[in-house]
Amino acid sequence: MVSVQYSLEFPYRIYQDELFPMVMVALRNPATRESVDQDAFLDSGASRSIFLGAAAPMIGFSLLEGEPWEFRTNTGQPVHARIHRVGVVLGDGVAEFALDLAFSTDEIQRNLLGRDFFNLLQVGFRESYGRLYIEPVP
């Protein structure tokens, strides 16, 4: 049996009056160091992370200058996005990861951190306690 010692603990965060396994991360533009704090759902069903397109210009990116990317949702509908390299900062700077993050050019409701993010760290969920745990190493 494998045991993991987690060094970071976060309470679930609220969305539409319901608690979800979300974390607040700072998205940072590596070139300008502009940064904003955003809530994001941890979603192991998402093969790649995607944020609302509105977040890109908040940190100085021109959304449409990124590489085009397409997601397929659970219903098969496409969601289009553009990729920009960002820094994702966790826990008031405890850990920072470089990520080629998709910013949606279609209307989406929520920021998702997917398996590309999970590939950078280890996550544990304790759903009935409304808490999640992160060890910031793969």
Binding site: E18, V36, A46, A54, P57, M58, Q109, R110
Partner: protein, 67 residues
């Protein structure tokens, strides 16, 4: 987060669909343009503003998927 939860109804009543920059329990800026309110926050000296959009209530008998 506790403040957001306690004030969810008031936030929806006043700011539904708008973007908000929240610093602790203080609403620094709000409006339809997230870039504009982030700029207001940076002028106030907030290096990494916490920005969110005020969503409506979850409809009854609904659950959410990732996207």
């Amino acid at each position: 987060m506790a403040w957001r939860r306690a004030n969810a109804e008031e936030l929806r009543r006043r700011f539904l669909g708008q973007w908000i920059v929240l610093e602790g329990t203080e609403i620094i800026a709000n409006g339809p343009d997230p870039v504009a309110i982030v700029q207001v926050a940076r002028r106030r000296g907030i290096h990494s503003p916490y920005v969110f959009r005020v969503e409506g209530e979850k409809a009854p008998k609904t659950s959410s998927l990732g996207l």
